[in-house]
Amino acid sequence: MRQEILEILENDCRVTPEQIAVMLGEDAAVVKETIGQLENEKVVLKYQAVINHEKIDNGLVTALIDVKVAPQREVGFDQVAARIYRYPEVRSVFLVSGAYDLAVMVQGHSLQEVAAFVSEKLAALEHVQSTMTHFLLKTYKQDGVIFADQEEDRRQVVTP
C-alpha cells in the first residue's frame, strides 16, 4: 500500500487521503496514518507544483553546473556538497559518476546574477577544483511532465 500511495501522490499530491482510500479500497484512517508515517520518516519531503516558468516570463535563469571536487578524508564529497546546497540560489545538487563530481542546478534572475554566483561563490569554495556552467535554454520535460502543449484526447467522443 505504501508504494501505491506514493505512486498516487507523486502523480498528484492534491488527492485527499479519503480519495486515495477509495481508489485503493482501503480504510481512510489507515491511509491517513500511512501518509503521516511517510512524512515523519521523511520519505515524503514536500508537496509542490511543477511550474512552466517559460509561460509566465518571470525572467528566471537556470544553469546546470558541473563541479569537480577534491574529495576529503573521512567525509568524501558530503561536506563540500553541504556547503553548496545551503545557498538558496541552488535548486538541486547531485553526486554523479563520470568526468565531474557534483551536478548543481542554480537559479537566478539574470545571466549575470548566476554567472556571478558561480565565479564568486561556487568556484571560490575550498576543494572545488573546477566548474563548467550550462545555461538551460528550454525545458522539454521535467519530473515526468512534458511541457509542450500536446497529447490532447484525440479519441472519438463515443465508441463501442
Binding site: 477509495v22 485503493l24 479500497g25 472519438q156 467522443v157 465508441t159 463501442p160
Partner: protein, 402 residues
C-alpha cells in the same frame, strides 16, 4: 414495372438504395452511432462514452512500428500472420491463461478481435443456426451473427447475479438449432466477469448440447479480482472453443487493428480461408508493434490496470453516493449503474444529461435487452475528468430526483 412507373414511385435520392440487400437495409445502425452524432455536436463535453483506453499506446511500441517502417516492412505477411507474432501469442496464452496452442497451426492474426469474431461466426454458421448471446452485450455480436446467416438468441443476465451468465438461463434457451455460445467476459458494457467456478457449469452445458463456444476475451487483462480464467482452459473445452483476444484494450492499441483467434487447426484452417480471401492479412506494421507489446509491454499493462482499478473504485463509490444503484464491476473499464431511482429511461436520461450537464454516457439500450434503465459509463478517463463528471451527474440527479 416500367422504368417510368418506378421513377414515379421512388423518390430520386432514395432510388439507389434499391440495390442494397433487404437484409442490410433492415439491419439497424448501431445505437452508439446515433448517440455519437448528438455528442459530437455538443461543445465542452466530458465523455464517459468512450469504449477505448485513454492512454496512448506505450512509446516503445509506437517506436517499434517506426523502426519496422524504416526497415522496409511494408509488405503482406503470411495469411496466418507473422510467425514471430504467433509464437509470442502462443507463449502469452500459455503463460497468462494456461492454454497451449500450436502457434503455427492454431493461431491466426486478424484485423482486430472484431474480424476474428466475424471469421469464427461465418466459418461455423449455417442458415438458421442459433447463436446464444448473453445480454446486455457488445453492439456487434447480434449483427455479426445475422450477417453470417445465424439467428441471434439473447440470454439475459441480471444485476442481481452481478450480470454473470447463469446456467439455468442459458439452458432454457437452448434448442436443437443452438450451435454457438458467444461469451464475452470481462464484459462490455456491464464490467461483469466469470470466475472459473462460474464457468464450469456453462462448460458442462456446452458439452451436453455440443455447442461451439466463441470466447471474446479482449478485456482479459483488465480483471481486478484475481486472474482472468480463459474458457479454453477449462477441462475438455479447448477443442470446442474459439478463443479471441487482441491488443486494443490491454496495450491501448485500438487504432492498430490487430487481434487474434486461437482454436483447433480444423477450425482455424477454415477461418483462414475467409480471412485470406477478404483481408489477406493484418497490417504488417501493426503486427510488428504487437510483437514489441508482447515482448516488452508487461510493465505498462500492469501500470494501466492499477490505474483503471483506482478509477473503478472511485467511480463506483461516487455513483453510490449519488444514489444510483451500481453493482461492483470486476473487469473491463465500464460501470453499468441503474437509473431506476430517477424514473427516467436510459435514452431520456443520457440525452438530458448531455444537454444540461454536458456529460456523455451511453444509454444501456444500445447494448440490447437488460439495458433499458442503465447507463454505460467508461472510466477510461482521467481521474479529474471522472471527478468532475460525477459532480455533474450528482447535480443532475438531484435536480431530477423524484
Amino acid at each position: 414495372m416500367s422504368l417510368a412507373t418506378w421513377k414515379k414511385m421512388a423518390p430520386a435520392q432514395a432510388a439507389p438504395e434499391r440495390f442494397v440487400s433487404p437484409l442490410i437495409r433492415e439491419l439497424p445502425p448501431s445505437g452508439i452511432r446515433k448517440f455519437f452524432d448528438l455528442v459530437a455536436n455538443t461543445r465542452g463535453v466530458i465523455s464517459l462514452g468512450v469504449g477505448e483506453p485513454d492512454f496512448v499506446t506505450p512509446w516503445h511500441i509506437r517506436e517499434a512500428c517506426f523502426y519496422s517502417l524504416e526497415q522496409g516492412y511494408t509488405m503482406y505477411t503470411s495469411n496466418f500472420g507473422l510467425p514471430e507474432l504467433r509464437q509470442e501469442v502462443g507463449r502469452y496464452l500459455e503463460a497468462g491463461f494456461g492454454v497451449r496452442y500450436d502457434p503455427l497451426a492454431e493461431i491466426i492474426i486478424t484485423v482486430g478481435a472484431s474480424e476474428a469474431i466475424d471469421l469464427a461466426l461465418r466459418a461455423v454458421l449455417e442458415p438458421g443456426d442459433e447463436v446464444l448471446i448473453p445480454a446486455p452485450c457488445y453492439v456487434s455480436y447480434q449483427p455479426c451473427a445475422l450477417l453470417a446467416g445465424g439467428r441471434p438468441v439473447t440470454v439475459p443476465t441480471r444485476a442481481e447475479n452481478d450480470f454473470k451468465l447463469r446456467p439455468a438461463e442459458l439452458e432454457a434457451r437452448i434448442t436443437p438449432r443452438s450451435k454457438v455460445l458467444l461469451l464475452s467476459y470481462p464484459n462490455n458494457p456491464t464490467g461483469a466477469i466469470m470466475t472459473r467456478e462460474d464457468l464450469l457449469p456453462i462448460a458442462r452445458l456446452a458439452e451436453r448440447y455440443d455447442l461451439l463456444v466463441i470466447s471474446d476475451e479482449i478485456y482479459a487483462e483488465l480483471t481486478y479480482d484475481g486472474r482472468h480464467t480463459s474458457f479454453a482452459s477449462l477441462p475438455g473445452m479447448q477443442e470446442r472453443t474459439v478463443l479471441i483476444n487482441g491488443f486494443s484494450k490491454a496495450f491501448a492499441m485500438t487504432g492498430w487493428r490487430v487481434g487474434y483467434a486461437a482454436a483447433p487447426a480444423p477450425i482455424i484452417n477454415h477461418m483462414l480461408k475467409i480471412h485470406q480471401y477478404t483481408m489477406l492479412c493484418a497490417p504488417i506494421m501493426s503486427q510488428k508493434a504487437a510483437i514489441e507489446a508482447l515482448r516488452h509491454g508487461r510493465e505498462e499493462v500492469a501500470q494501466m490496470v492499477r490505474e483503471y482499478d483506482r478509477r473503478r473504485r472511485f467511480v463506483v463509490q461516487r455513483l453510490r453516493e449519488i444514489g444510483l444503484d451500481c453493482f461492483e464491476p470486476k473487469g473491463a473499464f465500464y460501470v453499468f449503474p441503474s437509473i431506476a431511482a430517477t424514473g427516467m429511461g436510459a435514452e431520456e436520461f443520457s440525452q438530458a444529461l448531455l444537454e444540461e450537464e454536458k456529460v456523455a454516457v451511453v444509454p444501456g439500450t444500445a447494448f440490447g435487452e437488460g439495458g433499458e434503465q442503465r447507463l454505460r459509463c467508461s472510466y477510461a478517463a482521467s481521474i479529474n475528468d471522472l471527478a468532475e463528471a460525477m459532480n455533474r451527474i450528482e447535480r443532475f440527479v438531484k435536480r431530477h430526483g423524484s
